[in-house]
């Protein structure tokens, strides 16, 4: 039943992605409504999967990276639907859901039922939860940056195309990227610090080599630089958007390293 529900969730997200992209082109109310329905259906199945997984583990399903990513996807989908509802930014799904699909495909792989022995302290759970919230915020940061670049390109090229009509104002998008950065950064920072502290307690040094820890530190540096540039140097718009995209690419690499390379975060 578990496996079937995971598939149902992934299929729901895939269908929702297709519909959201179709909405970008077609701009029919019905298509958007179907996309939201498919998203919610996938999300509902996903919720059941997570609950089942928590019961199976006897702990929150955050103990392995695939589990944790699965929770992150669940949060991202929820936030995506909420933002669309609240701000009327109906094209957001087209930019966020493809990422959701990629992440959930990885999260849907079967995994062990035992917890890693290091996961004994409450601090490690907080480390994981904070890092996840940070990652969720950066998914929206990335989507906002991508939309900004597309809209900016259309306005500079002076040839209005589909994106010109569908996307909101540059300023709105720039605010979105700034706010998601300002929101995600403290979570990522605290998450990383807790991870380092835990590493010192568990392994004696905060900086023992772990591919995920190393890459996430690089991502953190990029985001820290962007935030500093924005706050102090008046960075904004295109430059900030490029930084967001590079930062997100680094985060993706981080997660990839965690999933595929051996290390303390390996599954």
């Amino acid at each position: 039943m578990h496996g079937n529900l995971i598939n149902a969730a992934v299929i729901g997200y895939v269908v929702a992605t297709g519909l959201a992209l179709a909405y970008l082109v077609q701009r029919q109310d019905l298509v958007h409504r179907l996309a939201v329905l498919a998203t919610l259906a996938g999300w509902a199945a996903h919720s059941v999967v997570l609950i089942a997984r928590a019961i199976e583990l006897g702990a929150p399903p955050l103990g392995s990276l695939p589990d944790a990513i699965s929770v992150a996807v669940w949060v991202i989908v929820l936030v995506e639907v909420l933002i669309e509802r609240r701000t009327g930014l109906r094209v957001l799904g087209a930019f966020v859901l493809p990422i959701v699909v990629v992440l959930s495909l990885k999260a849907a792989t079967p995994r062990a039922v035992t917890l890693a022995p290091a996961l004994a302290s409450v601090w490690i759970w907080i480390h994981i939860a904070l890092a996840l919230i940070g990652i969720a915020a950066f998914v929206f940061n990335f989507a906002g940056a991508l939309m900004y670049l597309l809209q900016e390109h259309q306005l500079k090229a002076k040839r209005p195309g589909a994106f010109y009509y569908r996307l909101p104002a540059l300023e709105t998008l720039d605010h979105l990227t700034f706010r998601t950065l300002a929101l995600g950064f403290p979570f990522l920072t605290t998450g990383l610090v807790l991870g380092a502290l835990w590493a010192r307690t568990a392994w004696g040094s905060p900086f023992t080599f772990d591919p995920l820890a190393f890459l996430s530190f690089l991502a953190w540096l990029i985001y820290a630089g962007t935030l500093a540039g924005r706050a102090a140097g008046g960075w904004h718009g295109r430059r900030a958007a490029y930084c967001s995209i590079i930062g997100f690419a680094m985060l993706v690499l981080t997660l990839g390293a965690g999933l595929f390379l051996p290390g303390r975060h390996g599954s």
Binding site: Q151, K158, Y164, P168, A169, T172, R239
Partner: protein, 423 residues
Amino acid sequence: MPLFVAGLSHKNAGVELREQLAVEEDKLREVLADLQAAAVLREVVVVSTCNRVEVYGVAEAPGEARALVFRHLCRQRGVDLAQVEGALYTHLDGDAVRHAFRVAASLDSMMIGEPQILGQVKDAFALAQACETVGPQLHSLFSQAFNVAKRVRTETEIARHAVSVSFAAVELAKKIFAGLSGRAVLLVGAGKMSELAAKHLVEQGAFPIYVANRTWSRAQDLARALSGTPVQWEELETALASVDIVVTSTGATQPVITRPTVERIMHGRRGRPLFFIDIAVPRDVEPGVDRLDDVYRYDIDDLKQVVDSNLRERAREAQRAEALVEREVGKFLLRQGDVEVIPTIVSLRARLEEIRLAEVKRTLGRLPDASPEQRAAIEAMSTAIINKILHAPITKLRESSRAGASRSLLELVHELFGLGRRG
């Protein structure tokens, strides 16, 4: 009873003919009263705008009614009837419904999606109501037409994008800035079109407005007209540094705003975007500023290009609107059709039931020894025969009414079964 629309529009009649035939409101009252007095039309609404003169009517004999209406209109307006006859179109029943829906939804307009026509049709309908020439059929037609028009407006983007250069500029500004309220605007030079663009920006909440002109008095005049502030020509760069949107339309032969100037002022703006709307020919803003970050410059050709692309977007949306109208026409005819054939079906059934009862009574009168079972069998058989006979005609009547073509069939049924006159 047959519904028809007859008239002429920008599609098939020149402006000369249209303006000759157009009727203003007080004259229209007379026309409606006269038409009602003639008693050929059961119901009538006349829509008269600069782009169309149309009569929506309900009449036993639409052809006759149409001739009467236009004879009357031509006489009133002193137009040659033969000239009008050549340009007239007539739509009946389902086609008339479609036409009414398309006109109200602005799909038949010269500029597809323009918003005035719905108001004009509503006014025409209200006037006819006031003159008591609207009955149930036109009432349901027009109420539904208004609903459809509203749906088209909200569910498609047919009227969403600007089709004039000045509105296109406002729309562009809204794609750069999140809302225009409180955005400062600088007008450089004083052309009619830049004034218009400035007015649109003010309507969207842009404030304050500055006006710079080489001629100080001209700057003062325009500033007063727009409730803005005049700016000395020498202060142009200072003003540029503080505003969000710049509309230029000077008669200068050389650019008045150069790339070095803009580069200088952008330094102090901390990334606040600057939008140039350059309506002047030759252009006032050096095209080189395009390569600067956060600077957006649209000259008149760029704006025209945006308008063209908006028009294409409208045309695409119009196709969706047409499909929506088509579905609504179908639904309307379905409801209408059932309403139209039900009385006939009921009276047809009643007529046959009357015959059946009389015949059964007679037969049973001749069979005094029949058992209750036998009586019941005779009742059942006679009812079955009637149902079998009625099945095909009723199905046919419903089908034809849904196709909007039940009139002749209904008449035939009434005639054949002697059902009396229909209402």
